[in-house]
């Protein structure tokens, strides 16, 4: 038997639940294996702890002496909500609104940036077309052209 098989059988070995053949195999392994012996010793200590102690009767006034010393236990927060559901519903609605607000505000800039980039492209087409007009103002159109978003490549 190897260690894994022995350790699986140790509890039954200790309680005397194995067949004679199995018991011999485990005993033989235990003679040669210090680790499994240690495991068996640990099981035996646990068994001692689990052995029922002598049953004693509690004094009749024990509870009356303990109860005043106990602190009043606070009810869980959710029990209060269940007791009065309206504030709970209001709180849930407020939370929903807050989540929706956060979602909208975080979503807003992304959409705006995308739209701005698109608008910038269309604006460029418009500026370029305007630049071909007979009285084109190069300085002003150049300022518009240079002020468009994106495409900034500096060395």
């Amino acid at each position: 038997m190897n260690c894994a098989q022995v350790r699986d059988s140790l509890a039954e070995y200790q309680l005397g639940g194995l067949s004679a053949e199995e018991r011999r195999g485990v005993a033989q392994h235990l003679e040669d294996c210090a680790d499994c012996r240690a495991e068996l010793a640990a099981l035996e200590r646990l068994d001692e702890l689990l052995t029922p102690a002598e049953r004693v009767r509690a004094p009749a006034d024990m509870w009356s002496r303990i109860q005043p010393r106990l602190r009043r236990r606070r009810a869980p927060w959710w029990q209060g909500l269940l007791a009065s559901p309206r504030p709970a519903i209001a709180a849930a609605a407020a939370m929903l609104l807050a989540v929706a607000g956060i979602w909208l505000t975080t979503r807003g800039p992304a959409t705006t940036i995308e739209t701005e980039a698109l608008a910038s492209g269309y604006q460029e087409q418009q500026i370029v077309a305007q630049w071909s007009s007979p009285l084109a103002d190069d300085a002003a159109l150049g300022l518009m052209f240079a002020s468009l978003n994106g495409d900034v490549v500096e060395p």
């Binding site: 608008a119 269309y122 077309a129 009285l135 103002d137 300022l143 052209f145 490549v153």
Partner: protein, 361 residues
């Protein structure tokens, strides 16, 4: 026997007649300035437009422009002549940026010389539409950059344009455009102007394939465009505007071809303002920046010449409000074509232009 009041009445009648003649001349845009040959306002427009291309001048300007950041005022050094322009901004959001224009190529370099943006302008518009749609009058004289100028003003459906043209060269030393609400869109006034300089040397253009993509824009006749679409060169249906706001006319068609794909531009104008109808394949993803997009699937959809596929499948996109030169933009998916109409006109007019697009035949 002559009555005593004959002389004063005659003098008054002559004075009234003289005033009426002057008023009539001014209303017609024709006025004789002291010591000048009478000049018609439209002729001023032509001479001024020509001077912008030919006159060499160097100096500093104060310029204002409605940009995506709002109305911006800045100073700039300008050197121009012989179809070339170099503008270096001395302050404001574009401080240190230099704009180069050489023929129909324009590009912007940042303070450290990096290429920031480039575009191809295409052909210039004829001044004819401007003269036809805008009523010009000479409004007076004033000194700009210590030089005498003639000031004339144009009024059109979308606002006004005021120009102070140098008396000696006809070069516009002050140009101001306002929208119909009287708000400034662009305004540039020269502070110092030296007309004794040579034109700027040809600037070194950005090397091909360097910096942000430019794409190619070329003017193309509608017939050639239709032929290309009939031959299946493009995977969307060519649309034509069938309604334009009063005063606007179709100026021409342009084909943008870049690494990302093809975009067709129908450019309409009232002479001063541009109204663009941009078309591309609806199958292509909307490119960031609105330019031609990469087409991952290549061809595969039918093409123009026949009935509009999917007219019932017109897709609407929310109107975009563009600050600066743009105005508004309306986007529609009509069949296999994604169309965007952009212009500084009323939103409902843009909507109507978009809704009345029809397949070209």
């Amino acid at each position: 026997m002559r009555r005593w009041w004959t002389v004063p009445v005659t003098l008054c009648a002559l004075a009234v007649l003289a005033m009426a003649v002057v008023a009539a001349l001014r209303a017609g845009g024709l006025v004789a300035l002291p010591g000048d040959v009478p000049v018609e306002a439209r002729e001023l427009v032509e001479r001024t437009a020509a001077a912008l291309d030919t006159v060499a001048v160097r100096g500093t300007v104060v310029t204002r422009a409605l940009t995506p950041h709002g109305l911006v005022t800045t100073r700039a050094e300008v050197h121009r002549g012989d179809g070339r322009v170099v503008v270096r901004y001395l302050a404001g959001p574009a401080q240190g940026t230099t704009i180069y224009r050489d023929g129909d190529a324009v590009w912007a370099r940042g303070p450290r010389g990096g290429l920031r943006r480039q575009a191809q302008l295409g052909d210039g518009w004829s001044a004819e539409l401007l003269e036809r749609n805008w009523q010009f009058t000479i409004v007076g004289r004033r000194r700009v950059a210590a030089r005498p100028t003639i000031v004339f003003s144009g009024r059109g459906p979308g606002g006004s344009l005021t120009v102070a043209a140098d008396r000696a060269t006809w070069f516009p030393l002050s140009l101001e455009r306002r929208d119909s609400a009287g708000e400034t869109i662009t305004a540039t006034t020269w502070q110092i102007a030296d007309f004794s300089v040579a034109p700027p040397p040809p600037p070194e253009p950005p090397p091909a394939g360097h910096g942000p993509p430019r794409g190619e824009r070329r003017r193309i006749a509608l017939a050639d465009l239709q032929e290309a679409f009939e031959a299946g060169a493009h995977d969307f249906t060519l649309l034509e505007p069938t309604w334009l706001p009063p005063g606007f006319e179709l100026e021409g068609w342009y084909l943008h071809e870049g690494p990302g794909g093809v975009m067709v531009e129908a450019r309409c104008t009232d002479g001063l303002r541009a109204l663009l109808v941009l078309q591309r394949s609806a199958a292509a993803p909307e490119p960031p920046g609105g330019g031609p997009a990469h087409r991952p699937g290549g061809r595969g959809m039918g093409r123009g010449g026949g009935a509009m596929r999917g007219q019932a499948g017109m897709g609407y996109a929310p109107m975009m409000h563009l600050r600066g030169a743009g105005g508004h933009a309306v986007r529609r998916v009509i069949g296999d074509t994604a169309a965007t109409v952009i212009g500084p006109i009323r939103a409902e007019d843009l909507e109507r232009v978009a809704n009345d697009l029809q397949p070209s035949s």
